[in-house]
Symmetry: C2
Subunit: 152 residues, 2 copies
DNA sequence: AACAAAGTTTAGCCTTGGCAACAATTTGAA
DNA sequence: TTCAAATTGTTGCCAAGGCTAAACTTTGTT
């Protein structure tokens, strides 16, 4: 694979290398696949911390979807080793799930604080952060952290 | 062991209002539904501008998916009035499609330039922008534009 | 003109995450 | 204890976007 990125041909045509572009879109698709799991473990962790337990009905309310949808996702997360639960009982995170939740909450906080530091209103910052969080690289998160520190 | 308290605020301390949170997640879901259409019209416009035409095989290469997948999406975008095409011929945008493409390209450019102005490396900025662009509000875009202007 | 290559479309199949409707279990109040 | 309400689980449906394989059309070369 030679010289991915910016060949003469691509520059004259004003288009980036197709393989490079494909990798970018691939990364977005991977982020979307991880997104549901990330939001679920994050919210489950928040509910357990704030209320002592996370129930299906709470998740349904806070995600704005039906309890059937929540149940189906929980089955998948259980299968993937992020959630552990018994029938008709409240939800728990596995160690893997707790670890993912911790990292997601930290990332969420950085994105939110960055938008706030930029001067975005709290309501908009919270809304934007919920989507943006899944698409920021470590390099960008570091730049966000530096910006927050500089504007503290 | 559910809510045994009298005040509804006591036990939900540290958590945002459920209806508000549901609206945030709903907005993210709406963005995801619009995302494919946005990326397709943007890339179709780019290809037409750079190469004179947009073909299924080009889109497949640049998105990194099979040509069958592209075809199925094109059928949908045609049905929704964004793309106009004849069988076995190259793809065109309707006026609605061109308009959406123009707005998406502008938004993409703002997000990319903002990340670059923040000091993110070009490769990372391009990759992150492809996902982030679909989740930034007008308010945040305005703040991005201001930041770009201040750091020019 | 004939034929091979390239490009497009169609047909099945899959997974995710939506929904409503109904079934089963747990919980709380009589 | 009993029973209704709340909660959880199951079933069947749907659309979006992935895929492979096969059929079809256009294009280019001989
Ligand atoms: Mn999120
Ligand atoms: Mn989040
Ligand atoms: Mn994009
Ligand atoms: Mn884009």
């Amino acid at each position: 694979m030679a010289d991915e990125g910016f060949s003469d041909k691509n520059l004259t045509e004003g288009l980036v290398d197709p393989g490079q572009q494909a990798r970018w879109f691939n990364r977005v698709r991977e982020a979307h696949q991880a997104e549901t799991a990330e939001d679920y473990v994050e919210l489950i962790a928040d509910l357990i911390e704030a209320q002592g337990e996370a129930r299906v009905v709470d998740l349904a309310n806070r995600f704005g979807v039906s309890h059937a949808t929540v149940n189906k996702v929980i089955v998948r997360l259980n299968r993937e080793g992020l959630v552990s639960n018994q029938p008709y009982r409240s939800l728990f995170l596995t160690e893997t799930g707790k670890d993912l939740a911790r990292r997601c909450k930290e990332r969420h906080r950085v994105v939110l604080d960055f938008l706030l530091a930029l001067g975005i209103s709290p309501a908009t910052a919270e809304a934007d952060a919920e989507g943006v969080e899944h698409h920021v690289s470590e390099e960008t998160l570091t730049a966000f952290r530096n910006f927050i520190a500089r504007n503290r």
